[in-house]
């Protein structure tokens, strides 16, 4: 029944002897870290997916997780800042959810350590879903369909445990690693990159640009917090909001570059509209904030090289991920 993609309110049943979720990982990806209390199963991922797309999760039933995390936009929303219920403007730009299963910290400030705990944040946030978890549980318990799904997935009625686990289970399956770059890099298709993209790739990995200082590895992020010199004074203190350390002011989690072409606008506040603007920011060396990363040194780049670099970044788009029918109801 995992293949059932109609979000109709008809009961689905999962064979308890064949509920194991078979997740195919892209080449070069390590085993998926999965917590003991939330092993992947078809019923859990199915439930999580249903919850993810259901506006029942917001106070006025107007906003779902998918409102700010659209699959076709690599689970971002294309907006500068996310919009919650009643048109409330969120604090930050919606980040992609690709490969969060491997993330060691979640949110731009890294204040949340697990996918399960992260689920609670947008639910409670006044500017996002703004729902009392007690109200949400009550709503779900009134819905026989959800009661059945929770029972199958977690052998319990709808509750905070099941809500957090199910959505996290679904999010854990959002793996992206099948871009044209990946096919080229793994020798699956050595002809799939254009000459411009190859030149851009050479620039990306060059010591002059040193993009990989922060955007390395299979997820194209070092999972660290860096101040990239975006501002001299930060309205949003970033990592310091969590640590209260002055040395963390203006530091934000380094985002993945996978599907970066689909996730504009960029930066924690969505202030840079396109990839050219991002490259120009890094080429300039950024503002001299005291916490600015030593990796941000500035560099010279010609207009053609910028174009090549953008083309390479576009080759990180994973069409299979962006159009995966299993990700949508």
């Amino acid at each position: 029944m995992w293949a059932c993609r109609k979000d109709s309110k008809r009961f689905v049943s999962f064979n308890k002897h064949n509920d194991e979720f078979d997740l195919e990982l892209p080449p070069g990806f390590p085993a998926l870290p999965v917590p003991e209390d939330n092993k992947l199963s078809k019923s859990r991922v199915f439930l999580g997916r249903k919850l993810f797309f259901d506006p029942i999760l917001s106070r006025d039933s107007s906003v779902s997780c998918a409102s700010c995390h659209l699959p076709a936009k690599a689970f971002t929303d294309g907006k500068v800042l996310s919009i919650g219920i009643e048109g409330r403007v969120g604090m930050r730009n919606a980040p992609t959810l690709a490969n969060l299963a491997y993330a060691t910290h979640l949110m731009f400030d890294g204040g949340i350590p697990t996918l399960e705990l992260q689920v609670l944040a947008p639910l409670a946030d006044h500017n996002e879903m703004d729902i009392d978890i007690n109200e949400l549980v009550e709503r779900l318990r009134k819905d026989k369909y959800y009661v059945a799904l929770f029972q199958q997935a977690y052998m319990r009625p709808p509750d905070a445990f099941g809500i957090t686990r199910a959505i996290a289970a679904y999010e854990r399956t959002l793996i992206s690693g099948n871009s044209r770059y990946d096919k080229f890099a793994h020798g699956i298709d050595t002809t799939c990159l254009t000459e411009s993209e190859k030149k851009g790739m050479a620039l990306f990995f060059s010591p002059q640009l040193a993009c990989v200082s922060c955007h390395g590895g299979f997820t194209f992020t070092n999972n660290q917090f860096e101040n990239n010199g975006l501002y001299l004074q930060y309205a949003d203190t970033g990592r310091a909001r969590i640590t209260m350390q002055a040395s963390d002011v203006g530091k934000f989690k380094v985002p993945t570059l996978r599907n970066i072409n689909e996730t504009a606008p960029y930066m924690h506040d969505g202030s840079l509209p396109d990839l050219f603007a991002v490259i120009e920011h890094y080429a300039s060396g950024g503002k001299n904030h005291p916490n600015k990363s030593a990796h941000i040194q500035g560099f010279s780049i010609t207009p053609q090289e910028k174009t090549d670099l953008v083309h390479f970044l576009q080759s990180l788009s994973d069409e299979k991920f962006l159009n995966n029918p299993n990700f949508i109801p």
């Binding site: 705990l117 445990f161 809500i163 686990r165 209260m244």
Partner: protein, 255 residues
């Protein structure tokens, strides 16, 4: 005879230090009775020497009216100190919520004995503060259903005080204040000497934790002006002041 002399002296000593709130907790030795008993722990709110309830108007030390609309706080590792024997962990965590009577008093099973002190952490110990709130049953103090969890920071709010104040005496409660404090750095354990509290199997002694809101706003070391210091929802300097003044606002009564 020697023992009698010792216990009499010790009792006098406890009586003497009972005026000395928040002293250092003693260490005990030996065993306590295993005979079951109960103790009630309740909390109450006070202003100007009178009991206060939520939404009741009170006046701060500067003559400005205010009302509290929410008061919740955690105590953890609540421990009784017998006159003889090892300290007894009474309860790992309690969440006091002034919104309803069930949230203001708890009957806790314990053991008979005579106790000369109580200690507790104001807030949650670091292990509790790092808990996943979705893993607890709804009625548990650490459950996410209690609405005390800071989801963006994955930690609990130890103290939550919300209310309204009249900034200029015109009868309009024009100021909203909201003091939420919670962080491992704010966690502090306090000890209160008790004057020989006897727990027996057929009595129900009450340990009342009294919160003097006047001291909270105008503490011995610092004051909180609800007009100019309206909110803290993080670990900023005001949060430290909130935690410090809340500690000073606590006193214990046993009867």
């Amino acid at each position: 005879m020697k023992n009698l002399f010792f216990f009499s002296s010790f009792s006098l000593f406890l009586l003497f230090i009972s005026c000395n709130n928040k002293a250092k907790a003693p260490t005990g030795s030996g065993n306590i009775s295993a005979i079951p008993a109960n103790v009630k722990i309740k909390t109450s709110l006070w202003s100007a020497g009178m009991p206060l309830t939520l939404n009741q108007t009170a006046t701060d030390t500067w003559g400005r009216d205010f009302r509290l609309e929410l008061l919740k706080y955690y105590l953890s590792d609540i421990t009784l100190y017998p006159n003889v024997g090892d300290p007894l962990l009474l309860k790992d965590v309690l969440l006091f919520n002034f919104d309803n009577q069930q949230g203001r008093e708890f009957i806790i099973p314990t053991s008979t004995g005579t106790y000369g002190g109580i200690s507790f952490g104001i807030g949650l110990n670091p292990q509790q503060n790092a808990a996943d709130p979705a893993t607890y049953p709804p009625s548990h103090p650490l459950s996410v259903m209690q609405n005390t969890y800071w989801t963006w920071a994955t930690k609990y709010r130890f103290i939550m005080i919300d209310g309204k104040g009249d900034s200029n005496g015109d009868g309009t409660f024009d100021v909203l204040f909201s003091y939420h404090a919670g962080d491992d750095l704010l966690y502090e354990t306090v000890y209160f000497p008790l004057t020989n509290v006897s727990l027996t199997h057929n009595t129900l002694p009450i340990i009342e934790i009294k919160i003097d809101i006047d001291t909270f706003f105008d503490g011995p070391n610092d004051s909180i002006d609800f007009v100019t210091e309206t909110a803290t929802h993080s670990t900023n300097p005001l949060a430290f002041k909130v935690a410090a003044n809340f500690k000073e606002a606590i006193s214990i009564d046993v009867y």
